[in-house]
């Protein structure tokens, strides 16, 4: 039987007594590109944090790449790209090369020393992403788009089986955003990595993702974009205009 990329069963989560996710269940197959959408406060980022082991659920079970999350240690098989760095300091003294190499730490045991293999993996990823020419630049000197590319390279440097992204294009201009989506799409096609991408950009994601997960604390819809666009139930939920917005570029 093929190992599922992600299995979420009856997941519940909350903060200080307020429930953010209620009985969420879905399964993601290897190679799927899932766009995760929903209004603010719908639990999208909370779910991503739980999948990454950053937050504990209040109930339910998750299996990542065939293993229960509680016993999951293959973090090098997951790449994570956040919306932006939590407290990004533009004067942080790290070069592009140093930042991408940090992505290799997850595959290492204490004392987590880098080897020539790591240097080769960094080189390969930079070449694939077309950013070799900026390897010596400081991360703070880069534009928002280039900085997100570098962080994506960091997430991809282990050739992850699952790439998780939380609103990675929020701070980007429309042109850079489009090229970013294309890059993710190519990566999904070429490297066969499963992609989970949280976004508010419902109009664009339909063009690239294979599946849509629409959350509003509960799963409102989960399935392929074709199913979403042909669903009369979703027409009832979003209205014809809302459904068209998501589907017109698919």
């Amino acid at each position: 039987m093929t190992e599922k990329a992600l299995t979420v069963q009856n997941l519940c989560a909350g903060y200080h007594g307020t429930e953010v996710l209620q009985d969420v269940s879905f399964t993601v197959n290897p190679g799927d590109y899932v766009g995760i959408c929903g209004p603010n406060g719908s639990g999208k980022s909370t779910m991503i944090k739980i999948i990454l082991g950053l937050l504990a659920p209040t109930a339910g079970a998750i299996s990542v790449l065939g293993k229960p999350l509680g016993g999951f240690h293959d973090w090098q098989r997951i790449g994570y790209l956040p919306q932006g760095l939590q407290f990004f300091n533009p004067h942080f003294p790290a070069t592009v090369d140093e930042v991408i190499r940090l992505g290799r730490l997850s595959a290492k045991q204490f004392p987590r020393r880098f080897t020539k293999d790591d240097a080769r993996a960094v080189e390969r990823t930079m070449e694939w992403m077309g950013i070799s020419h900026i390897r010596g630049k400081m991360i703070g000197e880069l534009s928002g788009g280039l900085r997100q590319r570098v962080l994506l390279a960091r997430a991809l440097v282990n050739d992850p089986a699952l790439l998780v992204m939380d609103e990675p294009t929020t701070a980007l201009d429309p042109e850079t955003r489009e090229s970013f989506y294309k890059l993710i799409f190519e990566m999904n096609r070429e490297k066969k990595a499963t992609v989970l991408l949280v976004t508010h950009d419902t109009a664009t994601i339909g063009k690239y993702a294979s599946h849509l997960l629409y959350l509003d604390k509960k799963v409102i819809f989960y399935g392929s974009f074709d199913d979403f666009c042909n669903s009369t139930e979703m027409t009832g939920f979003f209205g014809e205009h809302g459904q068209h917005l998501v589907c017109h570029r698919h």
Binding site: P82, F87, F92, P93, A94, T95, V99, P111
Partner: protein, 274 residues
């Protein structure tokens, strides 16, 4: 007075060696602390050191035993700051402020019980590296090896969690353990640094070489190496200048560090706008 004559004194040799070792530790850890916005932890732990030193003076311990007696108290306080921030759901600066105030209050109370401040306590407040003994230098060398070994072993993890803690966690790194390692190494360094610049000026030795290096360094490793070089250079220069001009050593080191910071700032502006 020429250089040879200055270096011929045993106390100067010990001061220069001890000062350099401590400067390396402060500068290297300072880069991590400054970038993590934990610069003032040095101040907080120094104030705890003040309370602990007052306690050891009350029991009339010799200087060398005093350093050893202070270490466990400062290590426990460092972990206390972390636990307070986690358990009491308060920000790190508030936790540092609380532990810092308790340290000072304890010191003042104990000094009062002992019959007031005396010369010994004063020398710990403002430092006196020229009085470092051979046994204190030996302790400094042992602690130097322990702290540097800790930094080298955890270097990549410290770098990753300093860059972004959430990203580090999502890579499977135990960031709580890394934070504990950083504050414990800092606590050991603070105990040593009180001899060089004194309790009142420890945070300067942790912050100034690091922020000077951050003005000019191109890369993380470069920042660490530059900070260590600036730290050693300014401490050697400060000890020498204070000896020749008969000035207080700790204060001289801090002022020289500030001048270097201004120079680094000017150099950065020049490099940006040639």
């Amino acid at each position: 007075m020429d250089l040879n004559e200055m270096l011929s004194y045993g106390f100067m040799q010990r001061a220069l060696i001890g000062g350099s070792l401590i400067a390396i530790l402060c500068s290297v850890l300072g880069v991590f602390l400054v970038l993590r916005r934990l610069s003032l932890i040095g101040d907080g732990l120094a104030h705890v050191t003040f309370g602990s030193v007052a306690l050891t003076l009350l029991f009339r311990l010799q200087s060398v035993y005093m350093t050893l007696a202070v270490i466990p108290v400062v290590l426990a306080s460092a972990l206390g700051i972390l636990k307070l921030a986690q358990k009491a759901r308060i920000y790190g600066d508030a936790a540092i402020g609380m532990v810092s105030a308790i340290g000072i209050a304890t010191g003042v109370l104990l000094a009062s019980v002992a019959g007031g401040f005396n010369v010994d306590l004063f020398s710990y407040l403002f430092g006196n590296i020229l009085s470092i003994s051979s046994s204190e230098l030996a302790i400094a060398a042992v602690l130097f090896v322990i702290v540097i070994a800790g930094v080298v072993m955890f270097y990549n993890e410290l770098f990753a969690s300093t860059f972004d803690e959430e990203l580090a966690k999502s890579s499977g790194l135990d960031t709580d353990r890394i934070n504990a390692v950083l504050v414990l190494l800092t606590a050991l360094t603070v105990v040593l640094a009180m001899k060089v610049v004194g309790i009142m000026l420890i945070s300067a030795l942790l912050i100034l070489p690091a922020v000077s290096a951050l003005q000019i360094a191109k890369g993380f490793k470069a920042a660490i190496i530059s900070a260590a070089a600036i730290g050693v250079g300014t401490v050697i220069c400060g000890i020498s200048v204070s000896f020749v001009l008969n000035l207080p050593t700790g204060a001289t080191i801090v002022i020289i560090n500030f001048v270097v910071f201004l120079l680094a700032l000017a150099l950065r502006s020049l490099l940006r706008h040639p």
